[in-house]
């Protein structure tokens, strides 16, 4: 469990510290007070990446050159120091060269209003969702993904070069095929695990009315090498690698119709939520420690009853950081402290 969190020069905060409890923690504050920032800092500390943006550079407080996030998970002290081109990770005061051990500690699932993009947005959003889970679920995932991206970028650079470079292209095709084939297998396995959880969650949240189906739509065929050979002339023309896991998608259907085009706003929200709940369940299955849930302002258009129903669907065992601009809709006793965020200060109310 994340017991406490400290930020220095992170986004709007010069310096701030927060203490959390097991179960629910409610963070309230007006717009722009830094609620999302607190959740982001928790994600950065535990996962060394932000759920909000792919680069950490924008998180450095304007006018500064570095930030530090630190905190305690159980009895362990975690520290992360970031500066352009340089990052340092320490576990119990010892700098970590290999981050695998550190990253095994706590997994994170983030729920945010922009999760709707998972349904409506381009396929890249769904690949990022899969990759965020994959890198947390399997140590092998990140190096394979990095190798694939590196081989792909190299190959595309060769295809774009003014003179044809067929021999170099062939030399880079092999690592692309190897990493690409592993990535396809890992993503397929991941979707097989996520699907039953997501489908069950969707059914439960919709009161048993709706059926979601989840299917991996690979951007390459099983024989990736042969497919690359077949698309060579097209590649020359477009100067791009046109097949491969960088074209993967996750096919989402509600009531047997593509969710992006046909599902209603509420149905889409339900699907997004179901995808995130499935992620939490996959993590819970993998590790003794349930994942930390970051729930950022997802109550937008929901009425009070649905808001409470949503909270009820979050896995019991998990620690949860829930943000909102107000809490007057809360019905019943969810327990947990309320942290009020105003003008860079936190006031904690325990009930």
């Amino acid at each position: 469990m994340l017991r406490e969190l400290q930020l220095r020069d992170f986004r709007c905060f010069a310096s701030i510290a927060a203490e959390f409890s097991p179960g629910f923690n409610f963070i309230v504050g007006a717009n722009g007070q830094g609620k999302t920032t607190l959740l982001e800092a928790a994600c950065v500390l535990l996962r060394l990446q932000s759920q909000r943006s792919s680069s950490l550079a924008p998180a450095v407080r304007v006018g500064q050159r570095s930030f530090v996030v630190s905190g305690h998970v159980g009895e362990h002290r975690l520290q992360f120091y970031y500066r352009a081109l340089r990052r340092k990770v320490a576990f119990d005061g010892v700098e970590q060269r290999d981050q695998a051990e550190y990253l095994r500690l706590v997994r994170v699932v983030s729920f945010a209003s922009h999760d709707l993009e998972l349904i409506r947005g381009p396929a890249e959003m769904r690949r990022r969702y899969l990759d965020f889970i994959g890198t947390q679920a399997e140590a092998r995932y990140r190096p394979v993904l990095r190798a694939y991206e590196r081989a792909l970028r190299s190959r595309n650079a060769l295809l774009k070069s003014p003179h044809p470079r067929p021999r170099e292209l062939a030399a880079y095709t092999e690592p692309l095929v190897r990493a690409g084939t592993s990535l396809r297998e890992m993503r397929a396995a991941l979707v097989r695990r996520l699907a039953p959880f997501a489908e069950a969650s969707h059914r439960a949240i919709s009161g048993g009315h709706e059926n979601l189906s989840l299917e991996y739509a690979p951007g390459s065929e099983e024989d990736f090498a042969a497919q690359l050979a077949r698309t060579r002339t097209e590649e020359e023309r477009l100067r791009l690698t046109i097949v491969g896991p960088h074209r993967d998608d996750l096919r989402l259907q509600v009531e047997a119709m593509p969710a992006a085009q046909f599902a209603s706003e509420g149905q889409q929200r339900t699907t997004a939520l179901a995808l995130k709940l499935a992620q939490a369940q996959v993590f819970a299955e993998d590790t003794a420690t349930p994942p930390l849930l970051l729930v950022d302002d997802i109550f937008g258009e929901l009425d009070a009853a649905r808001r409470n129903a949503l909270l009820a669907h979050l896995p019991n065992e998990s620690q949860k950081l829930v943000t909102a601009t107000a809490l007057d809709w809360r019905a019943g006793d969810w327990g947990g402290p309320v942290l009020e965020l105003t003008d860079g200060e936190i006031r904690r109310r325990d009930k």
Partner: protein, 201 residues
């Protein structure tokens, strides 16, 4: 009020020292002050050593390793097997392999690896001289000992395609070497095992 600083000569020295790898502003300043304040001839000795190393050390014409003559010590050593040729990325990859004592052949350093993202093409590397050596020395086995990352693998593939028309066995050291860091970051045991467990390409 004007703030007093070190005289220009010292500031210039600090600036020069900072260009060395691993030397930050703090250590550059400490080294500069040591040079200025030393009561013995040590700084002059270091200056002479830098100048003479620059004059006497050059890449071996044959393999690219550090040499004081046309040929390095390894290439000049007749007791070393001519039939075995080990291809590495950098001349600094040779010493870790030497330390294992598991290899008694000769080396060829490419001076890098093919990397479109870093704008390194085959023609920037010592590939033509490798082909020449294969034709002239006719080794029976060429062992590729490049890093186990995407660029290392691609460069190996490129060379294999280029050399497979020659009557020579092409092998690659066993995988499991650290990626990126190259051979320098592998310990002796790992390297000996990688050499012993090489696979045919």
């Amino acid at each position: 009020m004007k703030r007093t600083e070190y005289p220009v000569a010292i500031r210039e020295l600090i600036a020069q020292l900072r260009q060395m790898p691993g030397v930050g502003p703090r250590s550059a300043e400490r080294i500069a002050l040591w040079i200025v304040q030393a009561r013995n001839e040590q700084p002059a000795g270091i200056a002479r050593a830098i100048a003479s190393t620059r004059d006497t050390i050059r890449p071996c014409l044959q393999c690219g390793f550090f040499a004081t003559a046309d040929l390095c010590e390894i290439c000049a050593d007749d007791s070393r097997a001519r039939e075995l040729l080990c291809v590495v990325e950098q001349p600094t990859d040779i010493l870790p392999l030497e330390k294992t004592s598991a290899f008694r052949g000769r080396y060829h350093s490419l001076g890098g690896r093919i990397s479109p993202l870093d704008r390194v093409a085959p023609e920037d590397l010592r590939i033509a001289s490798l082909v020449e050596r294969v034709e002239k020395e006719a080794p029976s086995e060429i062992i590729f000992a490049l890093a186990a990352d995407v660029e290392g693998e691609a460069t190996t593939n490129y060379l294999v395609a280029l050399l497979k028309k020659y009557p020579v066995t092409l092998t690659r050291i066993a995988h499991g070497l650290p990626a990126g860091g190259g051979l320098e970051s592998a310990d002796e045991l790992t390297l000996s095992r990688a050499l012993a467990g090489r696979t045919r390409l």
